[in-house]
Amino acid sequence: MIYLQLFLSFMKIGLFSFGGGYAMIPLIQKEIESHGWLSASQFVDIIAIAEMTPGPIAVNSATFVGYKAAGIVGGLIATIGVATPSLVLILIVSRYFFKFQDHPVNKMIFYGIRPVIVGLIFSAAVFVAQTAFLKESTVLNLSYMLENFLYIINFKGVLIFAISLICLVKFKINPILMIVISGILGLLITI
């Protein structure tokens, strides 16, 4: 029952994703990994495509992963799955939310959750870095990685990362433009 699995997995992702798109990446990655729906580099490509196409990353990646795992119907079901918790929760909670919004307990819960979200987004960067900075088919084993440090690092990737970071932080380049530029750089370096 791949359809049911897709629906439940993406419902779980929708239910536990706070803080928008990037914070969801570790969550989606876990689900994809445990079901073997996509490879790590395929998933990173989806993040890139989701960033370049309109719409929320959550929806984009749900559609893409669902399509890859089980065709057009799979994409539809995964997308409905990721939207269902929002739909249900907003209908139930919105009426009562304002009463509790300023309640100290609610504030303290978010005091604890907010920094964790930052940690999750950072973890997403580490996860993507593994596929971006290491050569393909690298064994993720710490002692192996330390011994073969120079051999496994993809220096072109590190270079493009450094250029991108400077462009984004210093020159505030538009993210979509940055993706286009980095794609061209990737093509030029390889040729």
Binding site: G20, I47, E51, T63, M108, I121, G186
Partner: protein, 197 residues
Amino acid sequence: MKTKSHLKLLIELFATFFKIGSFTFGGGYAMIPLIEREVVENKKWVTSDEVIDVFAVAQSMPGAIAINSSTFIGYKIAGKKGALVATAGVILPSLLIITLIAMFFSKVQDNPMVKAVFSGIRPAIVALILTAAIKVSKTSIVDKIGLLLAVLAVVLVVVFDVQAIVVILGGAAVGLGIYYLFPLKAARILSDGGHKD
């Protein structure tokens, strides 16, 4: 007559949110100004004060901000049907576009040119996500406890392979724990506002 105008409203809701879904790149936060322009300025369905409350709810509830805001605004304007129609509208463009791309991408992903392009894009995505983390940290990490929680979350997820859900619940538990066990500390945190906005 009433049902006819209701139907017209639902169609208008769908069209508006379809438009919003079609033109926002970069996810939820990028959608906020567009939603504001459409539903407050153009359609005058909600006031600008109301829409700020909607975004507050959308951001503090689980789920994509775009979906949450669309559901909420749809509900405010036309009840449960409105919520459903607005949500379907905001999702549909992504669904169509991504399905087309996915069909196409499966055919070209092994092409050496495409591979080269994506080998350049992946490192840029790392930089993009890192930039987002830095940006969010500025408002979300306000003290040493916050910094500790963020570092702990990274270590647990990256090194110990702990599920993100567990880490989120853990963060909530820490907040609650401080509230019930260290009321003085909690009072100090709350009087500082809890977070910088």
